[in-house]
Amino acid sequence: MKYIDEFRDGGTARSLAAAIAREARPERRYHIMEFCGGHTHAISRYGLTDLLPPGIRLIHGPGCPVCVLPIGRIDNAIELALNRGVILAAYGDCLRVPASGGLSLLKAKARGADVRMVYSSADALKLAQDHPDREVVFFAIGFETTTPPTAVALSQAEKLGLRNFTVFCNHVLTPSAIAHILESPEVRLHGTVPLDAFIGPAHVSTVIGSQPYEHFAEEYEKPVVIAGFEPLDVMQAILMLVRQLNEGRAEVENEFSRAVTREGNLKAQRLVAETFELRKSFEWRGLNEVPYSALRIKARYAAFDAERRFGIEYKSVADNRACECGAILRGLKRPQDCKLFGTVCTPENPAGSCMVSSEGACAAHYTYGRYKDVVMS
């Protein structure tokens, strides 16, 4: 397939792998965090770790929008759908995320809640137009990639004068999460999470540009290479990071130059700025409260804010105590280090959020890589 096969070519992959093996110094280790779930998925699906020398360890970061959504927010969404009679429009991979009381949106649906899977915020808007007699709430989640479409939906809802459409906003910010990880005691003080470099987000960076990462390169001396989601992009980014680390550089480099500029998509940024404002703090699953890490709807669009219209109150809910999602999302542990992995917690019955989305570190390892654990044991 054109524009796809070029980025999945086995021959090119092997020559990149050879270059990485040649340039990675045998005496040192390279701890590289891929922030995005999209990268985690590509790494597992294409078996990239098989192509890397043993000194390179990939740490799966918290960039899976479904995984970092705290239980309390899903409880809120379920409450809306089950008890407030709304049509709840949600992205597909939100539906199976486990919430309190053994529920998920999918299970709530089986109990009579009107939960609809949508592919975009525009679908949700259309639902509201098609059902003028029903309240439609769009369960908006995701990083900077999905935020602009939500902003568009809000401004269109205003233009159309829709009275039955609101957005339950859960949009979060990538740079705040990276900063939080770099500031965490595990990374800064104890050194329990050795973290040498980042593979920077693909789609997120098309919106925010490469500039926001410059702070991390300068302030924390961590090299960042922004990479596309295709497997060759990831391989190329790893090679570029190995070179930076070998040469003692800490710069922001852009492997994904076919889509990402330094400034990003200014129109999208403007739109987001008109519609949303920063929350003082937001709970992330696995990272706890992270200051200035999420967005809420501006007062101007209050009429379309589900939190205001339905008086939603947030209550933090702790994870299953044995679940290691938190430590995994912070790079402290690997999926196979969790006692629940593959036993109590499987993609059919996820206990923690990392097992839900195919981008989650646990689901990716379970689905694509667990035969390696068997071989080792």
């Binding site: 086995g10 992959a13 294409y46 929008p65 995701g142 999905t146």
Partner: protein, 351 residues
């Protein structure tokens, strides 16, 4: 209206243009009898149905009888390349044929929703009749029920089929052995993607058609060429990945696929890419996967490729001893990964 204009014994025919299913069509009375006469009997027309009994009686040839049943619920009812009618015939014929049996007879049971347009029902029934005629497998008995509006999804069709397994043929999901070749009759994902592209919320246009087809003749050719086929299965719901995992578990073997050998049409690959789906997990309705001894593999491939429904047949991998029964795949990229069971439904990814 004067008496002279009404012929004696005249009964107003069912209005297949504007009429709708109502509760009387399932009530067991005249309305139901009329619907059966004018629609089902007219379309399926054969001696067994004409006998108007509650069952069909037929002579049974010697040997093992294979029997399969399949409930069909699909939305939308009409899709590029087919509809629920022909799908319900092909699906059950294929389930019978995957034992190596020659399918002989079908039954069909309809659950209709009150308010369903009779014009659509007629289209569906005629499509079933055509599919059954082309396959040479008559629908010899059936049943109709009507449920109240809101309690069905237009129409549900359950078909049951019986067939006879030829002497000396023993095809079963537990017969795969280490060393077996895995053959696939054609490209993956056409049906599932054709259906998904039709769903209202997606609204993208493709030229992809469902691959729905009856595979029994292809199976017959394959058995003639190599009677000792170990496993045959049609990778419907859950796709090839799920089917192979079922076989791996039943037979207690592992499997290794080669990604580059698996045929996927470009349009399908593109649509899957777009929707965040994996063609390995997308449904097919006119493909089969075959596990056979290595010595039979080339001959079978040749026979498959000579048949219109197996033109793109390919060898996609092999079975091996593995106590964990993993289905693995060498990616086009040079790495390896598990091809796991499908979890729930395939849901599109956000990012």
């Amino acid at each position: 209206m004067s008496d002279a204009t009404v012929r004696k014994g005249y009964i107003r025919p069912v209005d297949f243009k504007h009429g709708r299913v109502d509760m009387t069509h399932g009530g067991g009375g005249r309305a139901m009898a009329q619907l059966i006469d004018e629609l089902f009997l007219a379309a399926f027309d054969n001696d067994w149905l004409r006998a108007a009994n509650d069952q069909a009686c037929f002579a049974v040839p010697g040997g093992r009888i294979a029997m399969a049943t399949d409930a069909h619920v699909v939305s939308p009812l009409f899709f590029p390349g087919g509809d629920i009618g022909c799908l319900s015939v092909h699906g059950t014929i294929n389930d019978v044929a995957m034992s190596g049996a020659k399918p002989l007879y079908l039954s069909a049971s309809f659950i209709l929703e009150e308010g369903f347009a009779l014009a659509d029902l007629k289209r569906i029934v005629e499509s079933m009749a055509r599919a059954a005629r082309e396959a040479g497998v008559p629908i010899v008995t059936g049943d109709t029920k009507v449920v109240e509006s809101g309690k069905g999804d237009g129409v549900f069709i359950t078909t049951t089929g019986v067939g006879v397994v030829p002497e000396g043929v023993n095809i079963s999901g537990d017969r795969a052995q280490p060393g077996d070749a895995i053959l696939l009759s054609g490209s993956l994902g056409d049906h599932g993607v054709a259906i998904m592209a039709q769903r209202e919320s997606l609204g993208f246009e493709t030229r992809i058609e469902s691959d729905t087809a009856a595979l029994h003749e292809l199976v017959a050719r394959m058995i003639e060429a190599a009677p000792d086929i170990h496993v045959l299965r049609d990778p419907t719901r859950g796709g090839l990945a799920t089917t192979l995992n079922e076989i791996a578990r039943q037979s207690g073997v592992g499997m290794l696929l080669r990604e580059t050998a698996i045929p996927v049409r470009q349009e399908v690959a593109a649509a899957c890419e777009f929707l965040g789906l994996d063609p390995l997990y997308v449904a097919n309705e006119g493909k089969l996967v075959c596990l056979c001894a290595e010595r039979d593999a080339e001959r079978l491939l040749e026979v498959m490729r000579a048949h219109p429904l197996g033109r793109e047949a390919a060898r996609v991998g092999s079975a091996h001893a593995d106590p964990h029964h993993f289905v693995q795949m060498e990616t086009g990229f040079g790495g390896k990964r598990i091809v796991d069971w499908l979890t729930g439904e395939q849901l599109p990814r956000i990012c």
